[in-house]
């Protein structure tokens, strides 16, 4: 449960020196993708930061987001933050189950009314409440109930942020995003399938540090992480500009690390921090591993054409469209030709021979 001591107190109690605290602030700034010049401000804010209560709800999801988070560097500097937040409800991670778990949620909501952070992963089915329930409570009902007294909502993963895979055509469950339902609370979308773990913790760190939500883009995603496209930050971008592309996954171009645009990379339309933050403790990221970006942090990425088709290729089979249209064109063209032929033929039949006697207009 949340307590009233500040983070500064808490760290000092753990015997962390000022140097340690500064190092912690440096790491936090790096985590939040803020410039190092922000470190003094972060230090000042963290001194006063209080421990918030976090309730984590999982709806129509694959647990990939939770996996991403828990597989992140642990223990690490983030763990210091997680030591300092109070994860009061997370039905995958918590020890309590069933009624006890629900009781914990209700208690946390009650005690931290108006102050807790609600984290959601997974989309919410509107088709039939029975598609996804927790303890007999429909996702929609639980979300509305829990969101009511939250200070802010963090929608983790593309499902919660935009509807994600459950919403993919034909969207059998009527899946929607958190922001489709909750309109009166600040919502931070941390999209990705899954999101980069340090981005999840970075957002929580930001809220913890400054007690406010970070600057957001038009999709309510934190700009520090989603402000630039994969394409713009991609180390393979020079190859794109030079016109050097891998044609297959095992050709010389692919081995030389050329641009993966032709192999379906959706980097140009995708906004995320993969190119800088990278994955697995900064080891690598999809493009560096030789696979194009799927665009997973964008809405409806699942419906945006084949993963291995270039972004410029139409979503449906264009050669088929052209073939059908050409066949139709031949039929309609023949009809149009017939009409023109007939018009001209009639005009020729209606020809009145011109003689010198009818050169002048008689009127």
């Amino acid at each position: 449960m949340a307590e009233n001591s500040t983070l500064g107190d808490s760290l000092r109690r753990h015997g962390v020196s000022r140097r340690g605290f500064l190092k912690f602030c440096t790491a936090t700034a790096s985590l939040m993708a803020l410039p190092p010049s922000m470190v003094p401000a972060i230090a000042a804010a963290l001194e006063r930061a209080r421990r918030p209560s976090v309730i984590w709800l999982s709806f129509q999801e694959c647990t990939g987001c939770t996996e991403s988070l828990t597989r992140s560097h642990s223990p690490s500097v983030e763990s210091l933050i997680f030591d300092h937040i109070s994860l009061d409800y997370h039905h995958t991670l918590q020890a309590a189950a069933g009624e006890a778990a629900e009781a914990a949620r209700e208690a946390a909501m009650h005690e931290n009314k108006g102050n807790y952070i609600l984290v959601v992963d997974g989309s919410i089915p509107l088709g039939n409440p029975g598609y996804s329930t927790i303890a007999g409570i429909s996702n929609l009902q639980m979300l509305e109930e829990t969101a009511k007294d939250a200070a802010a909502i963090v929608a983790v993963g593309t499902c919660a942020a935009f509807g994600g895979l459950p919403q993919a055509n034909p969207n059998p469950t009527g899946a929607v995003s958190v922001s489709d339902i909750i309109k009166d609370k600040p919502i931070i979308n941390v999209s990705g399938c899954p999101p980069i773990p340090t981005v999840i913790t970075g957002v929580l760190a930001h809220f913890l540090t400054f007690g406010a939500i970070p600057e957001l883009d038009q999709y309510n995603r934190p700009k520090v992480f989603y402000g630039q496209s994969i394409h713009d930050r991609c180390y393979r971008r020079p190859f794109y500009d030079k016109g050097l592309f891998a044609e297959t996954f095992d050709d010389e171009g692919a081995k030389a690390g050329w641009c993966l645009y032709k192999l379906g990379c959706k980097g140009p339309m995708t906004y995320n921090a993969c190119a800088t933050t990278k994955w697995n403790q900064g080891t690598s990221w999809p493009v560096e591993s030789g696979h194009g970006c799927l665009g997973c942090s964008e809405p409806r990425f699942w419906d945006a054409g084949g993963f291995y088709n270039a972004l410029s290729v139409p979503i449906s089979d264009n050669s088929q469209t052209v073939a059908f249209a050409a066949a139709a064109g031949l039929v309609l063209g023949a009809a149009a030709a017939g009409l023109n032929y007939k018009t001209k033929d009639e005009a020729q039949k209606a020809h009145g021979t011109v003689t010198i006697d009818d050169l002048e207009k008689k009127s």
Binding site: S17, A27, T276
Partner: protein, 143 residues
């Protein structure tokens, strides 16, 4: 052959086209400008290397270009931190690790001396108390 041939990254860098410098050289330009600014105005600069989209071999190349300078310091604080001066005086490579030896921050500092090397006022205050208590103990014997 490739300018990227650095220890530990041959596997990747050999495949990188010669002349493709990714972000190494632009970064080095930035460092140069920062050093000039430090000399001219005294303003220091810290560059978060984890915010730079490095390609394979970029980090190795950068470190190799920066080289080894006169000062190497190791701090033991919430895990290890190394502070190394590059062969360019005033350009420092600061590498932070946590207690599990995982890197948690990685910076270039263009500054006379990295702030973390200085003794901190709060810590010195604590040290004053600690010294008092040591002197107290030594003078009066343990209680």
């Amino acid at each position: 052959m490739s300018v990227f041939e650095q220890k530990g990254s041959e596997a990747v860098s050999n495949r990188v086209m010669p002349g493709m410098t990714h972000n190494t050289l632009p970064l080095l330009h930035e460092v140069r400008h920062a050093l000039e600014r430090l000399l001219r105005t005294g303003d220091s600069t810290i560059i978060d290397l984890r915010a730079i989209p490095f390609g394979p071999g970029d980090e190795e190349r950068l470190l190799s270009l920066l080289g080894e300078g006169e000062v190497v310091a190791t701090l033991d604080v919430l895990g290890r931190t190394t502070v190394r001066e590059s062969r360019f005086s005033g350009v420092w490579i600061v590498d932070h690790y946590n207690s599990e030896a995982e890197r948690i921050a990685f910076q270039l500092e263009v500054i006379e001396i990295p702030a973390l090397l200085r003794a901190q006022t709060e810590d010195m205050n604590q040290s004053l108390d600690a010294l008092d208590s040591v002197l107290n103990t030594e003078t009066h014997g343990p209680e």
